[in-house]
Symmetry: D2
Subunit: 347 residues, 4 copies
Amino acid sequence: MTASAFDHPYLSGLLGDEEISAFFSADADIRAMLSFEAALAHAQAAHGAVSKETAVRIAEVCATFQPDVLALRHAVATDGVVIPELVRQLRNAAGGEAAEKIHHGATSQDVIDTSLMLRLKAACAILSDRLSRLLGSFDDLGRDWGGNQLMGQTRMQAAIPIKVADRLSAWSSPLADFRDRLNKTAFPLQFGGAAGTLDKLGDKAGTVRATLAENLGLSGRPQWQSQRAVVADLAHLLSLITGSLGKFGQDIALLAQTGDEIKLSGGGGSSVMPHKQNPVAAETLVSLARFNAVQLSGIHQSMVHEQERSGAAWTLEWMILPQMVIACGASLRLASTLVGQIERLGR
Amino acid sequence: MTASAFDHPYLSGLLGDEEISAFFSADADIRAMLSFEAALAHAQAAHGAVSKETAVRIAEVCATFQPDVLALRHAVATDGVVIPELVRQLRNAAGGEAAEKIHHGATSQDVIDTSLMLRLKAACAILSDRLSRLLGSFDDLGRDWGGNQLMGQTRMQAAIPIKVADRLSAWSSPLADFRDRLNKTAFPLQFGGAAGTLDKLGDKAGTVRATLAENLGLSGRPQWQSQRAVVADLAHLLSLITGSLGKFGQDIALLAQTGDEIKLSGGGGSSVMPHKQNPVAAETLVSLARFNAVQLSGIHQSMVHEQERSGAAWTLEWMILPQMVIACGASLRLASTLVGQIERLGR
Amino acid sequence: MTASAFDHPYLSGLLGDEEISAFFSADADIRAMLSFEAALAHAQAAHGAVSKETAVRIAEVCATFQPDVLALRHAVATDGVVIPELVRQLRNAAGGEAAEKIHHGATSQDVIDTSLMLRLKAACAILSDRLSRLLGSFDDLGRDWGGNQLMGQTRMQAAIPIKVADRLSAWSSPLADFRDRLNKTAFPLQFGGAAGTLDKLGDKAGTVRATLAENLGLSGRPQWQSQRAVVADLAHLLSLITGSLGKFGQDIALLAQTGDEIKLSGGGGSSVMPHKQNPVAAETLVSLARFNAVQLSGIHQSMVHEQERSGAAWTLEWMILPQMVIACGASLRLASTLVGQIERLGR
Amino acid sequence: MTASAFDHPYLSGLLGDEEISAFFSADADIRAMLSFEAALAHAQAAHGAVSKETAVRIAEVCATFQPDVLALRHAVATDGVVIPELVRQLRNAAGGEAAEKIHHGATSQDVIDTSLMLRLKAACAILSDRLSRLLGSFDDLGRDWGGNQLMGQTRMQAAIPIKVADRLSAWSSPLADFRDRLNKTAFPLQFGGAAGTLDKLGDKAGTVRATLAENLGLSGRPQWQSQRAVVADLAHLLSLITGSLGKFGQDIALLAQTGDEIKLSGGGGSSVMPHKQNPVAAETLVSLARFNAVQLSGIHQSMVHEQERSGAAWTLEWMILPQMVIACGASLRLASTLVGQIERLGR
């Protein structure tokens, strides 16, 4: 079964991104969730809430534990979240006091949101690197063709001549800004316990949380279980990137249609018209831009997150966010491909 | 890699729908595309455009052909569509005159859109059946509890008492209408050739097309390569269904919150609060409704389908539509689960 | 104050539609709401629920009543709906038994939704007429230029030559379908009373409702206070129309960019480039298509209409639907303008 | 005619915001556009591009000029933008050398986008003030009721008790962040000339632009005519605010439904159920949140801004952005009203 074009056996050739998708595999999620449980045990040990030995034992179990995924799947159908069953399995594997202390003070959302943040942090580092490389490619284009003339087009009509460098700047300068924003993005720990108050940790709540964030390499802040701007901000940034690359793709497709101001290699073939060189990467950049612009609306609908935790709003994020990240990854990959296909720009 | 919650190893326990998802597997797509190529050969044979023997040979090859999917994936990266490479492989397998006549007169979009229609037709028959069963369950609820009193709620406040039957009618009567609409939905053949004019078929274009539609069990009509209301209409209907079921889910969640007018079994467990019975299915119906309401916007963006064929607009459909169908399937599955969990309604 | 470009003092020159906007004026709404109250009185009189004289008196008052709009505005701030205050004013004006019987058995939503349906029915008749005229203009283009050759364009690249008639068919045949659908659209009475059960009318509920629908020229059906497919269906159809016209606009803008297959008159001027002829109408058709594609998502979010009446979901419709209708009107107006600017097509 | 509920004669009582709407009146736009033209003349005079006297004369005309708005409306229908006709009228009024030098080096988009930024800057200062006042009101609630107990609700079910202060923090802490972001938002000058290169200003381009930005109190940066993140960032922030207030409204409506943990005054009346106290402001906050979440998608669609200037993408912003700002204003107004209606929270 392949619900999504992003990991479809052949459509992913166009739309997929293996490197970014890997962060959204079940396995990556499980590893990140287990690293939360391990780091939680250590953080509590650091503040005397569990013994050192217990924390070590919990971390050992988490390091290698392979859950029964079918049982997880079955449990999610009823519980709506994977954690109750995952923790049950983990406790069985750990035994003894470790079993008792696993997940102590945390709630499902703490584990799931933190796992997401850990993976988004890593994925965004890759996106940032790709942006830097792409910016380098635009610089190369500028060095080679920046002085060429290009007919400036406004409202789909020839206006006055500009330089290729001017157009390149319109493509690349927003991306440089978005790269800087990605680099400054905080990926916060989620840690609030059952209803956000860390009720089980008493006066150690703040220190355990700070240590936990530090151990996981995440930024510390009070829980944000029902405050989803963290997610919406990232989704917005992803859509800004795909939107800007969509503008680049649209421009290339328009240049390629007329054809006299660009020389492109490696376009797509047709099943019946061997003469064609379709600007497939350029078109797909537009598709991905519109896709993320649509999805962002769903992430913002999730801002209406009722009470301490909304199953409805939270689950909606799960259906939308991973594909937005992959769409951004695919868009950056395609943009690099497309830049590489430009053999001449302007004249 | 699992981009989509709908086929995620464990999230699919909540959000997936194996029966519906199967229609969106690569294999199902390939089988449907090959059945198009076979039926095309037969339709052309019926009108003397290819020999009977060639058509039989093409159909034989299509019946059992297993493409090299990795090569398809690689080709899609360049071509944007799977057909050029699939046809190339198929021709290699067929050899002789069959090789030459495979795909004759058709274009990539004919095959891909028709494959989609074949699979949507089958998927929608299942959705219709589920609607009928769900309507039966609502009837059962009506028989058991329809005469009970329920406090009518307007603007989130108690208004005047109504009967459980009144609320049931608000839940089920739109669904009956949508079921009838699904049953009347036409799933048309796509067949236009390179630029929609069936240029290679000359004066046989109309009759070949009619025969092809009949052979595939699809409705006949001129090509709709750049006219996407077919897709938008279906997406709208899917979102109406999930929207109505979202209303049902929201109502149940609200009833469950107060708790005195409903008795529900089988709610979800919490990782830290064993006393809880979360109305997970009800909440998820709301998530799925909002998901499809968001996605519909993307399908309508695809109506702006430039010229004879827009790669940008068409590719956007691929990213969105399958998950809308699966979301509808999951929603119907969850609604049936939820109705089954209602042990008492009203009082 | 001018929140909307559709009735902005100068932007409306481009985006407005005076004829369609008129149906969404406060005055048109008030007149329609009063005609509901009058028809309700007559329908009740027809079935003996109020006296003939009272009904005549109510209808007389409704025919000429001019409410204190500032007081309405003030009341809406608190009540969320205009009806309690409007009915209060109306009762003051009517006096006597008429005062008592005005609005009998109805609720705010009955009046407001029915007023909307009355006005949408009239607006859609105009949209249908415009579609017919536009189809006539496309026919004229076909007669003049249908036999000319046009380079078919797929994936933004020249494919094979087609006839202008082929492209015209892709533009007009969806519109003919949408016109037919508009003509078949049912505009139903809303009549359910406080919680949808017509509790105050006893065994006369059904007959009063049928008579009321007939008197108002609307279709009869049980109340649909929380069942919003009526609204969503229309919004979908409006967006299909603007989407198809957006495709037409996009195609014209692309033709105008290259310039050798179209001769257009009357393009827009620039503040600094007197040589330019901007295809403003064509571009704006694209804007309107994307606008309605976005808005449709909001109407579908409103399908999650909790309990007997959701203030949240219903109010969202008010913010969105009128502009969708006007956008459709403006789109049809601009499409007619644009067709009229085509002096040659193909070659 | 009243396309928008935000300035509808009576619906604006609920949804409008006179103070914020004022910035989107035609008059406010015209005043801001004229202030751009005046400041442009002064900036050019400062760098010797026009004479001091001419600049003074231009500024004098701009200070009091009242355009023929009907003529503007008529011209927008053709030109798609108001500037060519406005500049024509202005030149007629100025006469002499001033006539020649008005608008020198600028293009329509420079004037229109800068006018928007000037008005958004002022509007956002008001939104920021309102956020501060609202935060103060939340503080007051905290002082009065923060220590009370509230049943924490997760997934629409009672979880464990929390303090009212905990819930208040979930409501107010995102708003404090958004207020800070509003305060740090840069509102940049738009100044690029016909195709973004300030072609008419030669080597004075950079200094004139810097002076112009300073004179207008806007931030300086190269033109962003086709780079719309400026607009998308603000739209995102507006939707974050309405989204968070929607969460607040949803929570209040849910509290009010059960009724034992809140005492609310001043709810809305019903036309038939005098006993009701509808939480109208709370519901409307949800509507406004969903509205802006929908609209944001359209602003992001506009990121695909083809070439040097896209009429299609730019015009789409005009239809959407003003109402997003007003929706945010109305949401803040209603939130303050709602906080004021809370007479007790928790127990």
